[in-house]
């Protein structure tokens, strides 16, 4: 008896470590939904604002990790999350076609705008997207790119293509930051350059600069600048462990009247950041 006890004592630490390692697998709560989303929904505070309402309505605890759209899609493909809230329609459609996701639902949009220094060295104010990019290229004015495969970066690449201009990846005036939206805007401001941003992040930026930002909106309202956000459920066919039922509840709630109204009411500096458009 004594030897058994002492051997237990000796192994106690290991038992503890083992229990601690296995803990999360055993204690997995069923009502927990994991989402991968983009930095824009998190950085603007939209999710912090919506999450308590969602939990109250459904009893589901939602957790999210915010990254670029590219990585968010990869997390879904690797079965590490249950649901996605992303904004890169072309990539999303391919993703669903490939069988990684299902039930892609448009939830809301904001739009992209080109911002630049108030002095506007390339004179792009009020121009169309194609004309503006042409002018920036002709003047070799500094242009800042996210360069991180995010939804915004993908949109920028598309805009260069739509303007029938080569991707200026190697030009000296083209700066690829590989960083988040607000960081990139700050870099653009330091370099007095132009940058494409979603309006939500810009409003937040202007707010942080006390409403007197050194960077102003110069090109907006062009049809090609719409930034659509969608919810995609991770396909249970690809990922047996995906919580498809909870993901569906989230998708339904986001497209429902309550969330749509909440999204429309979410304002900063008196301006709405996102416009709900679920069908």
């Amino acid at each position: 008896m004594k030897t058994l006890f002492s051997s237990m004592k000796r192994h106690f630490l290991w038992i503890l470590i083992l229990a601690w390692l296995c803990g999360p697998a055993l204690a997995a709560e069923p009502q927990q939904l994991l989402m991968a989303t983009t930095t824009s929904t998190d950085n603007t505070g939209l999710l912090d604002y919506l999450a308590p309402h969602f939990t109250k309505a459904t009893g589901i605890d939602i957790r999210w990790t915010a990254t670029g759209t590219g990585k968010a899609l990869a997390l879904g493909q690797n079965c590490d999350v249950d649901v996605l809230l992303v904004h890169a329609p072309a990539a999303e459609k391919k993703y669903v076609e490939a069988g990684y996701g299902q039930n892609r639902r448009e939830i809301m949009y904001n739009d992209f705008v080109f911002i630049g220094p108030t002095a506007d060295p390339a004179g792009v104010k009020g121009k169309s997207v194609a004309e503006a990019l042409e002018a920036i290229k002709a003047k070799k004015a500094a242009f800042i790119s996210r360069g991180d495969n995010s939804g915004t970066h993908k949109m920028e690449i598309e805009l260069w293509q739509l303007a029938k201009l080569p991707q200026p990846e190697k030009e000296s005036w083209y700066v690829s930051t590989g960083q988040g939206m607000l960081t990139s805007i700050n870099i653009a401001a330091e370099k007095s350059g132009y940058i494409l941003t979603d309006r939500g992040t810009y409003i937040k930026y202007a707010h942080d600069k006390g409403g007197q930002p050194p960077m102003v909106v110069l090109v907006e309202g062009d049809d090609v600048l719409r930034n659509q956000y969608s919810v995609i459920e991770v396909s249970p066919k690809n990922c047996a462990n995906a919580k498809a039922d909870l993901a569906r509840k989230f998708s339904d709630w986001m497209a429902g009247a309550e969330a749509q109204k909440l999204i429309g009411d979410f304002k900063l500096l008196g301006q709405p950041l996102f416009i709900p458009n679920a069908k």
Partner: protein, 228 residues
Amino acid sequence: MDFILQGLRQAFLLLFSGNAETYSAVAATLTVSSYAMAVSLAVGIPSGFALGHLRFAGRRQVRLVVDTLMSLPTVFIGLIVYAFVSRQGPLGHMGLLFTLQGIAIGLTILALPVVISLSAAAVESTDASLRTTLLSLGAGNRQLMFGTLWEARHAILAGSLAAYGRVMTEVGIAMIVGGNIKWHTRTITTAIALETNKGQFAMGIALGLVLLLIAFIVNGSVSFLRKR
């Protein structure tokens, strides 16, 4: 520039107003670094001691490998751990992704080579005459071992603190494996990265100061214990 001063002010506010988000990040940082250090020290000091004390074939090669592993890039460790604990990875069924335990595993990989290498160096650099002195005093093999270990204790401690510093301030592993999930896996360093991305530079500085304060308390306690 004024955001540095603002950050200083904000750091005090965060700590003394009992800001729940900050304390959650502090708790996460302390949890992952404690777990990682406990395992690293338990495994690393004996291994490092053996590596420095014993003479065996291939010892130099092993040292070289361990020394090289001290330069493991943290984002690389993060990706490797992610590959293993992702739900489709070999350890996926354990549900370690986006947990503090998952981060702790990555941090252990980060700290272990530092502890082993610096412990080995500490043992190697003990006075060469120590061995003969101990033997002449009639020490057995066991006593020789503990004598050497005791003599090297300060250098081993310094190595452990260096490893602790790396673990506390690490951001790549915590971001990739932890996912920076609010209230759960958001550590101080990932919170700093987030605030910086949000353009809240003052908040980033404030959190950085909080981290420094914790490091100061840890180092202060160690130095206090050493004096006694």
